[in-house]
């Protein structure tokens, strides 16, 4: 069983559209995990039927019992997150600022502060329109611990893949280089980097690849919208050569990406010409690379 993670550094490069195409091409060989829990969009293309839905609790948050509180202010003094301001003469926890460290609860002389578990989202096991399994999640608004929710989604996907003896786990990662991305990469066998030939695309590709290198994960790259700026495409290819990253494919700028999405289809379902062929070939190359 091999875990393939699709990431991009920069958002909007076509990561999810490409991941969903791979999910269709892999069919019953793969379990799919949508780890872009902040802005999970894969379900819009895979039209899953939810089979199981579970609340996700992670971390704690402070709550002040106003009957016991004497407003001595010790909690507010020690809180490094300024999360316990005086509101109408009563120290009150601002939920979005509380990090859940519990320091306040430990020093409160009146024992007026309790830490309670926080529901930070939900995760789901679903069956997609082609009847493979999608594990996905929805992070609560402003929630912390997105990295932990990513880890949970991946763990569930792994267990299912193992039990059902699947060849692949295909993971849609999130943009950036922070905790959810670190969590997506952890334990992966191969990283597909999706980029576009722009200054921003190359800049972000370099940064996210630095992170991939730290994990010692083999990587390949798909250059989307490659005909937007041929000069920049050459610079991206040059970078791939220098770093020995496999150049999986170059895809043209094509509004089929948007048109397919608008009717809730992946590109390989919608398009029947060059773009589909390129994605089929890309998936074949990824399979060769990972095995």
């Amino acid at each position: 069983m091999k875990e393939i993670v699709i990431i991009s550094g920069k958002g909007g490069t076509g990561k999810t559209s490409i991941t969903a195409s791979f999910a269709i091409l892999a069919g019953s060989e793969a379990v799919i995990a949508d780890c872009d829990v902040d802005a999970a969009d894969m379900h819009l293309l895979m039209q899953p039927v939810i089979k199981k839905s579970v609340d996700f609790y992670s971390g704690v948050i402070a709550l002040i019992d106003e009957n016991k509180c004497t407003n001595c202010g010790i909690c507010a003094d020690i809180c490094r997150f300024n999360a316990i301001p005086l509101v109408d003469n009563q120290h009150t926890v601002k939920d979005l600022d509380c990090e859940g460290c519990g320091y306040c609860a430990k020093v409160c002389p009146e024992k007026a502060i309790t830490m309670y578990e926080q529901n930070v989202g939900d995760w789901f096991i679903s069956q997609t329109k082609i009847e493979n399994t999608l594990v996905h999640a929805k992070l609560g608004i402003g929630a912390e611990n997105s990295g932990k929710l990513v880890a949970k989604v991946k763990k569930e996907a792994n267990q299912i893949a193992e039990k059902e003896d699947k060849e692949y786990i295909i993971v849609d990662g999130s943009p950036g280089i922070g905790c959810p991305v670190v969590s997506s990469l952890s334990g992966a066998n191969y990283a597909v980097l999706v980029t576009e030939p722009s200054m921003s695309g190359l800049h972000d590709l370099k940064r996210v690849y630095e992170l991939v290198k730290k994990f010692n994960i083999k990587a390949g790259c798909i250059i989307n919208k490659s005909d937007i700026n041929l000069d920049m495409t050459n610079k991206v290819i040059q970078f791939l050569k220098e770093e020995s990253i496999t150049h999986i494919s170059s895809l043209p700028y094509d509004e089929s990406f948007t048109k397919a999405m608008t009717v809730g289809e992946t590109i390989v379902e919608y398009d029947h010409s060059e773009l589909k062929d390129l994605l089929v070939k890309s998936w074949e190359i990824v399979k060769l690379e990972v095995n």
Binding site: I78, L96, Y103, G176, I177, R207, I228, N229
Partner: protein
């Protein structure tokens, strides 16, 4: 006045809008532009100028002092993030898990875990005509963007008068980095595109701003592709649409070269004018 340019979905044009809006505004007035997408900062690719200041930014983490430690294990008990662990006759600190709450350090009976600085990234202040451009970038391998975003905002507030217009290029998504970048602003512009992904992530972003109690409006980028669902959603929910930036391959090409686009594309400039007029008429204390 502080305006954040945010979006649920990545790649909708936050940086294009932030940089061009700042430059457009700076044709006449002083403006501060801050790139708070510290994981993948891109605004700096479009703004060149004279470096005013470079600051290394640190977060505070505990450092074990073996000589005074009695191995009582209180630090491990007091850390909710498993960042301090007693292993045999050693105390191990995991900096990437540490939230700098100081509990282990200040509650240690023998003061054996003093807090020390650890580098997390770098802030750069560049002057380009009437634009003061501030960019912070997180070091690769650092997982927490929030403290660096917070320190960057603090730098800006200590440097510039309240009335100067400040444009924050926010990170994508709806989780803690976005909250940190938007929680103290006066107004939020949500950039989206008229596609199912754009709409889905816009709804999440709107829910987040409602939760934060932030006044907000929408700019639709790549207008003309996809469908009309984003417009319908905004109308139904009384969310003002400040501008519709037409879908244009030319814009994508200019962007790819790291160029500002408004001077080349009159139709884009017109949309910026609408946004500027709206911002300047906002009644904000």
């Amino acid at each position: 006045m502080k305006i954040a340019i945010a979006s649920g979905k990545g790649g909708t044009g936050k940086t294009t809008l932030s940089t061009n809006l700042a430059a457009f505004f700076a044709d006449k007035n002083q403006v501060v532009l801050a790139d708070l997408d510290v994981e993948e900062p891109n605004s700096g690719l479009f703004i060149t100028g004279k470096t005013e200041q470079i600051d290394v930014k640190y977060k505070m983490i505990p450092e074990w002092n073996e000589d005074t430690c009695t191995l009582c294990g209180k630090c491990q008990e007091n850390c909710n993030f498993h960042a301090v662990i007693r292993l045999g006759s050693q105390i191990l600190v995991f900096p990437e898990l540490c939230h700098s709450c100081y509990a282990c350090s200040e509650l240690c009976p023998t003061n054996s875990l003093p807090m020390v600085k650890q580098r997390m990234g770098e802030l750069k202040h560049i002057k380009s005509g009437k634009i003061d451009f501030i960019e912070s970038r997180l070091d690769i391998g650092q997982e927490q963007a929030v403290p660096l975003i917070g320190q960057t905002i603090h730098y800006i507030e200590s440097k510039f008068p309240k009335k100067t217009l400040k444009i924050f290029d926010a990170p994508p998504g709806t989780s803690c980095p976005v909250i940190e970048a938007t929680k103290d602003v006066d107004f939020v512009i949500l950039v989206t595109e008229p596609t199912p992904f754009g709409l889905h992530d816009l709804k999440l972003a709107v829910d987040t701003m409602v939760e934060l109690g932030k006044p907000h409006a929408v700019v639709i980028n790549r207008y003309g592709i996809g469908n009309n669902d984003v417009v319908d959603y905004c109308v139904e929910n009384n969310i003002p649409i400040l501008a519709k930036i037409p879908n244009s391959r030319k814009l994508a090409e200019l962007y790819s070269k790291g160029e500002l686009v408004y001077k080349e594309l009159p139709e884009f400039k017109e949309e910026l004018q609408k946004i500027e007029t709206y911002i300047l008429n906002l009644e904000i204390e």
